[in-house]
């Protein structure tokens, strides 16, 4: 399905391929250098969090860059995190919010994308525009109204409030990306299914969704990470002890005068694990989807 540049400009790209081989090699090297530098910069804070999570408060301030050695290694941070009984609860809250919101976003978003890309109906274009604009306006601008709405609905300090807001936050981009992918599915496939008398729901779930699995996995990753990491809406809508998420829970170790850095960093280290697991699951899907084979 993919169109190669060579198909579009055969003569020019052949010419380039011949005369620019050394330059291309240099270009590839430069690209790798830039990407490598970016990777280092992106990973460095995480690396700092990881190494300092295994050190005591004194060692962190004495030499923040040092790896935990035999005399500085300690699990005191993890101990103080795990000693707080509600910490497990925060994890469960975060996981519940992330997974339920993710599931809702993917199902609703994919169905909306299918409707917008496949069916002709009144208001189709306006709806598409509405979602497109939604990708451009940050939902946080509406925080005050959202808070009022949640108060009026009596949903303050519930996970439901968080889930609803996160679904709203993620839908526009999901619809936007999935609709674009659905448009690339050959019309013949859908029409063949319709000729066979397959229901629209079955076409959607058995033909369309499997074919856009890479896109769904991408959207899942892009949706899940901001939800997991969000501090704003949990703080605003569900700051109660029973509904705290992990990112909010970590703040318990950040005091006005004293901060238990070992515990903060240990909590953050633990918070990374579930998201990495989820990411691995989706990226496997992504690769499987790509290698599933094209139409022709």
């Amino acid at each position: 399905m993919a169109t190669r540049i060579a198909d579009i400009f055969p003569a020019r790209s052949v010419e380039r391929g011949r005369s620019m081989i050394p330059k291309q090699a240099f270009g590839a090297g430069a690209v790798h250098a830039v990407l490598g530098a970016y990777t280092l910069i992106a990973l460095f804070p995480i690396f700092l969090v990881l190494i300092n999570a295994f050190k005591g408060r004194k060692a962190i301030f004495a030499s923040p860059m040092a790896l935990p050695g035999p005399d500085t290694f300690t699990l005191v941070g993890f101990e103080s995190v795990l000693k707080r009984a509600d910490f497990g609860n925060y994890f469960v809250n975060s996981l519940t919010v992330t997974l339920v919101a993710l599931a809702l976003v993917l199902v609703i978003g994919a169905m909306a994308a299918w409707a917008i890309s496949e069916y002709r109906f009144r208001g189709n274009g306006v709806l598409w525009l509405y979602f497109t604009i939604g990708t451009m306006i940050p939902i946080r601008l509406g925080s005050v109204s959202i808070l009022q709405l949640i108060v009026d609905l009596g949903l303050v300090n519930t996970l439901t409030a968080l889930i609803l807001v996160f679904v709203a936050q993620s839908l526009p981009l999901t619809v936007f990306i999935l609709a674009e992918f659905m448009r690339t599915i050959p019309r013949d496939l859908k029409e063949a299914a319709r000729c066979d008398g397959v229901s629209e729901y079955r076409i959607f779930f058995a033909v369309i969704l499997p074919l856009i699995r890479p896109a769904v996995a991408t959207v899942a990753v892009f949706t899940m990470i901001p939800i997991w990491n969000d501090l704003w809406f949990p703080l605003l809508l569900a700051p109660g002890e029973g509904t705290k998420t992990i990112t909010l829970g970590v703040q318990a170790f950040v005091g006005q005068y004293v901060t238990d850095w070992s515990a903060v960093l240990a909590a953050l280290t633990l918070a990374i694990i579930p998201i990495v697991v989820l990411y691995l699951i989706f990226s496997r899907q992504l690769i499987r989807g790509i290698t599933a084979g094209a139409v022709k």
Binding site: D188, R194, C195, D196, V207, L211, A292, G293, V295, K296
Partner: protein, 370 residues
């Protein structure tokens, strides 16, 4: 029963009329081919029959029942697409079984149908493969298998051979012809290739610019084209057209003058033509170079000779610049630059009036000799 009736079918998108007043009847078990140049509306017509596009005007009946408002599945049709439209994430077996509803038919019944279709199409050993692991011809057979398992009233084929290479195209063409004989199914087949149309069809519908130009059996279209478009479209290489003028009209035919001063009397009904009319004379390449009894004579300068072994195609030009092709024996001695004289029997010559319509003939056409 699965006869089809198209009654004054029309289709327009916005204000643009794509198809106009299409009247076709397809008998049960008939193999009908829609043929025409690209953009003539043949694929749109097939999609109207399939129910993939809405019919703007007229009535479509399948098995004596109006189906305009029915969905494709309710019409009892199965369609084979040019791109095969196989589901890439399903195996061959799943592809064929996908359209069969589990509720209505038992699992065993579905299995039986799929295996029977696979047997007909020699796909038994490929059932577990994914489409990506199949060759073009195999994918085409799976697409046909998917249609067979549904046991439809009417099979619709949309240019099914266009994505195959030349050798496979001929082979698959023969397989489709055999399939039609075995299944005795009603088939509507769309193609732009007149060879496919001639070889497969029991009835050909020639379409041009959204209108039906002529409907008939392949040889009928070949021997008695109703107008200049059909004459030029059916037959390969296509018919030669020579401008001429009506000189005289008699009961036994009309006499025309040809470029270069030649005259010929052709057995056409005299009624519509008038003396002095500009007409076009059509002669097929295979009817030039006829020895003996050639009532029509032409001569020109040879430009190119294509030697295919069994035949040679001689491309030549008349004095007035009209380019013609003649089919000669493989051993014909014509050389570029030489002057060549060719002739055709009057019975094989077609005459078209200024509007391109064929003048009615007085006699049955003489049998074609090769």
């Amino acid at each position: 029963m699965s006869e089809l009736k198209l009654n004054a079918i029309g289709k327009s998108y916005g204000g643009v009329e794509i198809l106009r007043d299409i009247n076709i009847e397809v008998a049960d078990g008939e193999f009908v081919v829609f043929v025409g140049p690209s953009g003539c509306g043949k694929s749109t017509l097939l999609r109207l029959i399939a129910g993939l596009e809405e019919i703007s005007a007229g009535e479509l009946a399948i098995g004596g029942r109006r189906v305009n408002e029915l969905t494709p599945a309710e019409r009892g049709i199965a369609m084979v697409f040019q791109s095969y439209a196989l589901y890439p994430h399903m195996s061959v077996y799943q592809n064929m079984a996908f359209g069969l509803k589990l509720g209505r038919e038992g699992k065993d019944a579905i299995d039986q149908k799929v295996r029977r279709a696979a047997e007909i199409l020699q796909l038994n050993h490929l059932l577990e493969r994914k489409p990506a692991a199949l060759s073009g011809g195999q994918r085409q057979r799976v697409a046909i298998g998917r249609a067979i398992v549904r046991d439809p009233n009417v099979f619709l084929f949309d240019e099914p051979l266009s994505n195959l290479d030349a050798a496979l195209r001929v082979q698959t063409r023969i397989e489709i012809a055999k399939l039609h004989q075995d299944l005795k199914a009603t088939i509507i087949y769309v193609t732009h290739d007149q060879v496919e149309a001639m070889t497969l069809a029991s009835k050909i519908v020639v379409l041009n610019k959204g209108r039906v130009e002529q409907v008939g059996a392949p040889l009928e279209l070949y021997e008695r084209p109703r107008n200049r478009f059909v004459a030029g479209f059916i037959g390969s290489p296509s018919m030669n057209f020579v401008p001429a003028r009506v000189e005289a009209i008699a009961d036994r035919g009309i006499t025309v003058s040809l470029p270069g001063g030649a005259h010929a009397t052709l057995p056409c009904a005299p009624s519509p033509a008038r003396v002095g009319d500009e007409v076009t004379v059509g002669i097929r390449p295979e009817h030039l170079f006829e020895a003996g009894g050639a009532e029509l004579q032409l001569s020109g300068t040879v430009e190119v000779v294509e030697r295919l072994g069994d035949v040679s195609y001689v491309y030549f030009r008349l004095a007035d610049g009209t380019a013609l092709i003649a089919r000669a024996e493989g051993t014909h001695a014509a050389q570029p630059g030489e002057t060549v004289s060719v002739g055709s029997r009057a019975a094989h010559v077609h005459v078209f009036d200024g509007a391109g319509d064929a003048l009615p003939r007085l006699d049955a056409p003489a049998p074609t000799r090769h």
